[in-house]
Symmetry: C2
Subunit: 150 residues, 2 copies
Amino acid sequence: MTDDLNATGALALPSTKRSVPIALIRAREKVMGPIREMLSDCGITEQQWRILRVLEEFGPQDASSLAERACLLLPSQTRIVQTLLEKGLVTRQADEKDRRKQTVAITGAGQAIIHDKLDQAQAIATRIEEVIGKKRLAELLDILEDFQKL
Amino acid sequence: MTDDLNATGALALPSTKRSVPIALIRAREKVMGPIREMLSDCGITEQQWRILRVLEEFGPQDASSLAERACLLLPSQTRIVQTLLEKGLVTRQADEKDRRKQTVAITGAGQAIIHDKLDQAQAIATRIEEVIGKKRLAELLDILEDFQKL
DNA sequence: TCAATATATTTAACATAGCAAATATTGTGC
DNA sequence: GCACAATATTTGCTATGTTAAATATATTGA
């Protein structure tokens, strides 16, 4: 009884205004605005920042773990690490035991960038918490986690 | 008092595991999986599908409105419409009154694709509702809307 | 041991994201 | 009516997303 009907009475998709995929994009777009602004003046992209963050948080790791944690597909990860190598922000070397694996690590220069932006990044996180509310933000993260069950 | 501290006692960013931008990406990735699968066999991308959906829902409209509703940047919209033109799924013509504006409309072939996929798309939407729960899904959309205040 | 498989990562190719600059058309003030 | 600012869209360029294929190393079983 809750099926959406269009003007002709036929079964219709939910309006794009309440579409989950579109809502996720829109929200993300807003969140990323200030973050991109923060990163633009140090020549780092959003994805490069994520890789540095993950390396700083979890330490040196193989490519697959890094891609999973930074939420990147392996091909993207490969390219991004290559540019980070050129910038001198990470290192990469084959694992001794299993030479198929590549171990990626953050350099001092990479850590410096994170530390330089720490206050700004913290301020952005705080701002989000203020606007959305601490409780609702926690709810949001919980609900989003449930999407992994799909 | 709620500041996150790392091992050295310095101010630290929230773990990437509870990062809002990353959580949004992960959720979106899961949602899009079945949708991409549905579209792959008719040679249509996710963004092309969004444009067709919006044109079907709101009718012929200028490029800016279309981009806004389909949640695409104008340059992306321009290029995607170009490929849709080549596929014969949309038309585009200059507005009579204001020749700067381009009016885009869906064709019969474009509508046919939407109607062909209607049942499948509906099933995906239902599946999401089952897993997340109707109430929580509504909460999610409400919270995501609040991000526009940022 | 060696061929067949499986695993880890990279490359290739095409589509899109994001930003800045270029184009085209319209509106405005003098 | 014209130079000039404003608006709507497109183009150019670099980076990433996405899928499939290629490459390299490990593992397994006859």
